[in-house]
């Protein structure tokens, strides 16, 4: 475990030093900081718009950070040949891959944490909500973080067998697919005109692919008058779903990476 954590810590340090990630982060922070000035609607509409735009910036920036970060995690080591140095020590390939993944997750978490704090402070300055509302708003970024962990796992998995450029588009594609899965599922299940075989295939695809839309829980957070019964149970379930999916992806990644020539 110490080895994995050590690789993770090194990866976090590398991530923080990467200019492209810092530029994305800075752009996100800048966008967040101008949001309170954009509102022109009624008081309630203004608050709803502020929160939805805040989440948009936070989630959009996080997606970019997670993919750009994870896409280069392993290829960079291979390209710079530092992987030989690492693997020549008593470090197995699975430990290396797991360490890299955890490093990506920690780095994404760090950057998301920073953006969340800035967003909440700005929201507090412009709307003066109570602590309960702030805590409620923080639930959104937490679920986005789990979503980013899943996305990072997808990207790391792909990075074990495809080039960074292909991986980038594959990961973005998977994310886009994953965020529309529920609507696709609905259109398959509820449409009586769909051929049963096609419906079955659709159900299979929507079951196998990672469902990123489960983590878009922002609607009731944007509209606090919407009452959700026991949201914590849902958060636990969907986090469990993410963890299981991530474990599957990492194991599959280990299997592929273990057989790969580096």
């Amino acid at each position: 475990m110490r080895v994995i954590l050590s690789i993770a810590a090194t990866s976090v340090g590398e991530a923080i030093r990467r200019r492209v990630l810092l530029v994305i982060l800075l752009a996100g922070l800048l966008l967040l900081s101008i949001l309170p000035g954009l509102s022109v609607l009624s008081a309630r509409g203004e608050a709803a718009n502020l929160v939805s735009t805040m989440y948009f910036v936070l989630q959009g920036t996080s997606v970019l950070i997670a993919i750009v970060l994870a896409v280069y995690m392993i290829p960079n080591e291979i390209e710079r040949r530092t992987i030989y140095v690492i693997l020549s020590k008593p470090v197995t390939r699975w430990q290396f891959l797991l360490g890299k993944y955890l490093g990506a997750v920690f780095a994404v978490g760090l950057m998301m944490g920073l953006m969340t704090i800035v967003a909440l402070v700005l929201f507090w300055i412009s709307q003066r909500p109570d602590a309960g509302r702030l805590a409620q708003l923080a639930q959104g970024p937490f679920m986005f973080f789990v979503q980013m962990c899943l996305l990072a796992a997808v990207t790391i998995f792909f990075s074990t067998f495809v080039s960074p450029l292909v991986n980038f588009f594959l990961s973005v594609g998977m994310y886009l697919m994953g965020t529309t899965l529920n609507s696709l599922y609905d259109s398959f299940v509820k449409n009586p005109d769909v051929n049963p075989l096609v419906r079955l295939a659709g159900q299979a695809v929507t079951t196998v692919l990672p469902n990123f839309s489960y983590y878009n829980v922002s609607n009731p957070l944007i509209h606090p008058e919407v009452e959700i019964q026991n949201p914590l149970t849902y958060y636990v379930n969907v986090t469990g779903y993410g963890v299981i999916y991530i474990m599957g992806l990492l194991i599959a990644g280990i299997l592929i990476f273990d057989r790969r020539e580096v």
Partner: protein, 482 residues
């Protein structure tokens, strides 16, 4: 493949099965229930071509940005551009209550012709939008109240529907105390006076409880207002003979109640088509206080959802932003002053709103005391028991009410001044219509204001007569005298 590898493959298979089960059995139903936009009515679901707007789950952000854009359109008066945005926003974010409420109001009130008459063809869709908004936001009172308000204020005729929605709004704990009062008014306008009083008493009890807990000015004001409403209602119930009628012992018929004897409103009307699609409506209303508004409806004779002096307002099953462009439904209010009304109505400037594509039309005049202000109801009663009209009193078109209703017919040729009416002025009138004296004009500056109770008919002269009695009344069609 080594044993370890095989174990890993087995692990992947197990995890895949677990995640599939978790996803389909546990997470997806809960997500669909609490977090996904729901389809509660036909048309409430995000259309398939818009599914991709959900990319990244940014539905709410897109909805917010679109709503900001709609605000800009509104500022510029570009109302037509707002409608598709409203529909899109409510699809993307069905919990955006402001959009539902504003959308309803916009559909119901803002689409008007050149003379500020709203396009009533939109109202069924406004109600459908309200219903969808209420179904998507069942935990808050707002859309229930807004839909009730549309029935109460805009439709202003079927108060039972308003009560239905206000009751549902009152079931929600977040309803504002001041908004609860409106249910009592709706009860009164629906003729359910005892229910109105009971509701006021309930509100009074609640207000007193609140005041006992919080000695604040607002709560005291609220309590005092309700108390005043209770007093007013009781006085009106007594003066309008409500208690006497309930006793049903003949005391109402012999008592000196404000609603006794019924007052003859002496309605008569004449419609002249002065130019193609320009009509002048004038007539009499033998009630002296200024400000009566007689409802006038001009619609296709075969209007699918038409009912006397209105339509089945909640017939729309879907929110359709394009009203039927081949149908005509015009509703206006005729303002009465000095016991006469005269109004020139120009329908030529809004061909999309008034296409007049059918052969025959119905012209209806309607007065319902339930929509009248309190000082008129003091004489006419809540349900018209203090009102009569020797020609046009109707007790059938509105159950349990005595209303004035007059129905005339016109043809497309008459309205468009075509065919035989090309060089003649079509005139349609009730036979009791008495032309105004020379020089007397309802648009004059002098207003005669005696009270209703002091023998108003005597002071103002006898009610115009000449009819033969019965609903539907005597009607004459002819050519204007030179």
């Amino acid at each position: 493949m080594g044993v370890a590898m095989k174990k890993l493959v087995v692990w992947i298979a197990v995890l895949a099965i677990v995640q599939g089960a978790l996803s389909n059995i546990v997470v997806r139903p809960r997500y669909a229930r609490d977090f996904a936009p729901k389809s509660t009515r036909e048309g409430g679901q995000l259309p398939s071509e818009l599914i991709f707007l959900q990319f990244f789950g940014f539905r709410e952000f897109l909805a917010g940005m679109l709503w900001v854009r709609a605000d800009e359109f509104f500022e510029r008066g570009n109302y037509d551009a707002i409608l598709p945005i409203i529909r899109l926003v409510t699809w993307l974010d069905p919990h955006y209550i402001d959009v539902y409420a504003t959308g309803m109001w916009h559909l119901g009130y803002n689409f008007t012709d050149e003379e500020s008459r709203s396009d009533r063809r939109y109202i069924p869709f406004a109600l459908a939008l309200g219903e969808e908004g209420a179904a998507n936001n069942p935990t808050t009172y707002e859309m229930f109240f807004e839909t009730g308000w549309m029935w109460f204020h805009k439709i202003d005729d079927d108060y039972h529907k308003a009560i239905e929605w206000f009751l549902r709004a009152n079931e929600r704990p977040d309803i504002l105390p001041a908004r609860r009062n409106l249910l009592a008014v709706a009860y009164q306008r629906a003729g359910q006076i005892d229910e109105a009083l009971n509701w006021y008493f309930k509100l009074l009890r609640d207000a007193e409880e609140r005041l006992a807990k919080h000695k604040e000015y607002t709560f005291r004001m609220n309590r005092d207002t309700i108390e005043g409403n209770v007093d007013n209602t009781l006085v009106r119930m007594a003066q309008r003979g409500h208690f006497a009628m309930q006793r049903n012992d003949g005391s109402y018929e012999t008592g000196a109640y404000d609603t006794r004897p019924p007052f003859d409103v002496g309605f008569s009307a004449r419609i002249m088509v002065e130019e193609p699609l320009v009509i002048r409506v004038e007539g009499t209303w033998n009630v002296l206080p200024v400000g009566t508004r007689i409802r006038m409806v001009l619609r296709d004779a075969d209007y699918e959802f038409g009912v006397p002096a209105g339509m089945v307002w909640d017939h729309a099953k879907d929110v359709n932003l394009d009203p039927p462009t081949d149908l005509t439904f015009m509703q206006d209010s005729l303002y009465v002053k000095n016991r006469r009304f005269s109004r020139r109505i120009d329908l030529s400037k809004d061909p999309t709103m008034y296409p007049f594509s059918k052969k025959t039309y119905i012209l209806e005049f309607y007065y319902n005391p339930r929509s009248a202000p309190a000082h008129m109801q003091d004489k006419f009663g809540w349900s018209g028991e203090g009102m009569t009209d020797r020609n046009f009193l109707d007790t059938k078109i509105r159950e349990g009410q005595r209303v004035m209703y007059c129905k005339l017919e016109m043809t497309q040729d008459q309205i468009l001044r075509r065919g035989e009416w090309f060089d003649r002025t079509p005139v349609i009138k009730t036979t009791n219509f008495v032309p105004p004296r020379a020089g007397a004009s309802p648009e004059g500056e002098v207003i005669i204001v005696p009270g209703l109770r002091a023998g108003a008919a005597k002071e103002g002269g006898p009610a115009p007569t000449g009819g033969q009695g019965g609903n539907g009344g005597p009607i004459a069609t002819g050519v204007a005298n030179p």
